[in-house]
Symmetry: C2
């Protein structure tokens, strides 16, 4: 079993005629998907998404792929291909285009509409090229054929990339719903043709490789949704991702059957469904959709709301309803449907919202209960086996997953007959060269987390996050002293300000004489440098606080010369 | 459907001949279980546990039940009965005994041994009374009979409390393993006898009321553990709770069969298993247990380690191994078993540890995979139905659970024929009076979170936690200025110190003139009060930081007179 060594070095130049693959995000995590494919000095980028921070990254807004490896080579980039319109595949595009606004952005109609809406907020007008399944577009030596795949957002594409150095097939995110709502199935015939032509490197979605069997069809949940509608006594509130057009479609259809009106709640929900309807992906039954204000005039049992927040996001509509901080006042016998599964790490927040809604008297239907109100957007192990057997790739690179997902996906590839040493496991930054029909790990490039943090991009670092964790867990003590260095005496202070302590302020009175004594001693010795005096204060406070209240807060000594 | 109203008032005095039940923890959360039972002015306490903080409670060490309601009435407490030795049932005892060290502490042999070890660390010697199943002890008007129940720790008890005002049966935590390792089953015959005598109020464990069917027997997982032992090529590392004696027993037995030696890792694991072995609950096969240092001299395929950290706790042995920060260097083809399920909210940490271990090349077996290496310690819905049908209680109070668990447990009670209006739902602090055979919500008493935070108990409050969250997410800016108020001028500063910002320090140079201008204006107007001058600084900085970098940090202005 191979795994990346921390001691991988920057790779040697790519052998002539070889293809280099550099994942800059999405391998070792679920999010910020981005793959750079290189041939003869030119670069093709597949996807450029964001990762959402967890509680180890306090205060961070977004995490981007690390562009360092390509930052000096933006002129070599021939295009960026977007497989679909989810944030973890398109969210980083505005930041990439800041480096080079003229890179062609390639994607399906819906994907481009979503990325253009996002770029507009960043005041960027991109050069776009709309494509659809079956089309073939050539970018330098990269001859790209687009293949329909089914996912939890419409209009998703896989891309078959022919290069003189070998053929790559990148699935993007996909599953193989055989009865999708829009009839647009994952095109296994195109996968088969690619396989017959020869797939030298197959990049496959690992998200559900740990899930045995097959992902159920989207339409299987309609009976559970209908059941909720039959039993609901008052309002129905459906929460799902604002990009899940087919899920919203199912709620609209159920509402029409039940004679209820639907309002969309939340900016992203309204915007995305508008785009989807304009492009024909969402079919709004006549007269079903109303403005949220119109609901006030309707009886509760004629009302449906569709909103975001099914992941327990604290600022989304649903969490605010659970906390009675939203104009929709959830009450006795309202019915809430959470039409998604918690993303790993979000479980606590989701349960918090569910408990809050139930405490208000609402009935809550969710994917952890007996009714199936959610199916995943990703292929399970059974589907992946089909795909490996249809494509029969020479080499496989599992993508899109935490390490455990990548390992499980590799094991599936091997089970179908792919040679174990032809399935490299890689994390972000690990470089794979495809040379003479064989994919190998050849090194690693710098690939850290790049944080969007307030107005800054890439300035936040691990030291900053450590500071924030200390501030959060241990608090800080600031000590201000004004000294007259010529006289060698303290003329004001020490003024002590502390935050983050449970102990009352009176506890700090006992450190004051210690600071005064330490300063007096230092000044008596002729220390006049404020930096050194600050060290004196820091040591006096640090020793006291560690002993007295067993904490290690941040200590901020400020010595001003006055 | 009833639910507690925020406007519940402090209850009127208990009617003569009635019994009052006041849950001070464990209702609306999993943790800090504590119930106060009152009759004729005297109080019996059942359990006194701790709750572990989540990421909304940064820096907090533990959360206690709120003792305010009983703090002035400690002389009325006749005893504290502990149902079993888990932290969420005994962890608060040291803090309760600080209020009144002479309250008799009643529990089974193992429970008392665990609570005494804990009290020793707090330098408290308790008055204890050891009891066992079948025994009956009278504390004033509370006539307590102890009943064996099966749980994920040995020697657990339910308690049947006869009072002149009615009979209460409290299950504690339990399940109904019909083939437990130690043969000690939940005594349904005793439950039946209590039911025939008459149970006026039945307090039942709600934890698994949302889980359909029956909790599998502990011994069912032995085949999965044996399978791991058969396939393991190198070391085996088993992680579980340090109180799960039977789980450790299974690993010891499997190790003996496989001819491996076992070392226990971690202070709590070593201590608890020592106690369990001394009391005859853990049977260590001859020669199997060795000191962890002895493992260095054994081949890897003869080695087993048992440690804590199966919940992904960052400081526990397993997480440190995953982060290569432990003397046990997990490597290629070691096998790790996580013998527990993630507690809701811990999933993210558990996955982080699993990914870390897999990245080191280890195989990881866990409850989310295909092999059953864990069973719960709590009765599922099917078992609860049996218990309701055997006891046939007049009234039910679901305890031990988040709101969603309490609701599910109530529904089960009603399904067996308990009258819906005889199953009050209550959260911590909600008061239930049992009067004339009927249990009703009659009010609420103060019942907040009591935080153990560094050296302080009960001093940390919501304002403090809000401060910490602001410090974590937004950082702080401290501005120090020395002024000569008689001259009306700034003589030193502004000295700006900021932490928690991604932006470089140079960004703060643009606020300096704004502060100077604001101060000059205030001083020119004759403002000499340092408090007012600090307000001037705060406003100048706040306006700038909100506009310039769109943050709302904590602002600490310090104006010293020099």
């Amino acid at each position: 079993m191979s795994h990346p060594h921390p001691d991988l070095e920057f790779p040697k130049p790519l052998a002539k005629g070889g293809v280099r693959v550099v994942p800059l995000g999405g391998l070792g995590e679920i999010g910020r998907n981005m793959t750079v494919i290189e041939y003869d000095g030119k670069l093709l980028i597949v996807d450029c998404g964001v990762l959402f921070p967890d509680d180890h990254q306090p205060g961070v807004d977004l995490i981007l792929p690390d562009f360092e490896y390509i930052a000096d080579r933006m002129d070599d980039v021939v295009a960026i291909v977007l497989t679909h319109g989810h944030e973890d595949h398109i969210g980083g595009v505005p930041y990439l285009l800041r480096l080079a606004p003229d890179i062609p952005v390639v994607g399906s109609q819906l994907t481009l509409a979503l990325v253009e809406a996002k770029l507009k907020e960043h005041k960027i007008t991109p050069y776009t090229l709309g494509v659809s399944e079956g089309m073939r577009e050539v970018f330098g030596d990269f001859d790209c054929e687009f293949i329909a795949v089914n996912h939890s957002i419409p209009d998703a594409l896989a891309v078959f990339i022919r290069t003189p150095g070998g053929n790559l097939l990148h699935t993007g995110d996909f599953k193989m719903d055989q009865l999708p709502l829009d009839g647009r199935i994952t095109d296994l015939r195109a996968f088969a043709r690619a396989g017959e032509e020869g797939v030298d490197l197959f990049l496959t979605d690992s998200t559900n490789a740990v899930v045995p069997g097959f992902t159920a069809p989207e339409r299987d949940i309609s009976s559970a949704i209908d059941k909720v509608f039959r039993h609901a006594e008052r309002r129905i509130i459906a929460a799902c991702f604002s990009s899940h057009v087919h899920r919203v479609q199912q709620v609209l259809d159920a509402a029409e059957k039940a004679g209820r009106k639907v309002a969309l709640v939340g900016r992203s929900m309204v915007r995305n469904m508008g785009i989807a309807a304009d492009l024909g992906h969402l079919h709004v039954p006549d007269g079903v959709l109303v403005d949220v204000k119109a609901l006030d005039r309707l009886p509760d049992d004629k009302v449906v709301l569709i909103c975001t927040g099914s992941q327990g996001e604290p600022m989304a509509a649903l969490a605010r309803m659970a906390g009675r901080d939203h104009r929709i006042d959830v009450g006795e016998d309202d019915t809430i449907m959470l039409l998604s599964s918690p993303i790993p790490g979000n479980e606590g927040s989701v349960w918090r919202v569910i408990n809050g809604l139930m405490r208000l008297g609402a009935h809550v239907v969710h994917s952890g209960g007996p009714d199936r109100v959610h199916v995943s957007g990703h292929a399970s192990a059974g589907e992946l086996l089909y795909v490996y057997n249809i494509v029969k790739p020479a080499n496989v690179l599992p993508v899109h997953g935490e390490w455990r997902h990548l390992v499980a996906n590799r094991d599936l590839a091997i089970a179908t007959g792919v040679r174990p040493d032809h399935v490299p496991l890689a994390e972000d930054g690990v470089v794979i060269d495809l040379v003479d029909g064989r994919a190998r790990v050849v090194g690693a490039v710098p690939c850290g987390y790049v944080y969007v943090d307030g107005s800054s991009v890439g300035e936040a670092d691990e030291d900053l996050l450590k500071d924030r964790r200390i501030l959060r867990d241990e608090g800080f003590i600031s000590v201000v002293v004004a000294v007259d260095v010529t006289e060698g005496k303290v003329i004001a202070g020490p003024e002590i300000t502390a935050r983050g302590f449970a102990e009352g302020d009176e506890i700090f009175s006992s450190v004051r004489p210690k600071i005064e004594a330490a300063l007096a001693e230092a000044l008596a010795k002729g220390t006049t440098d404020t930096g050194q005096l600050q060290q004196v204060v820091r040591r006096a406070v640090g020793g006291w606080v560690g002993g007295k209240i067993r904490r290690r807060p941040m200590i901020i000594p400020v010595v001003v010369e006055a």
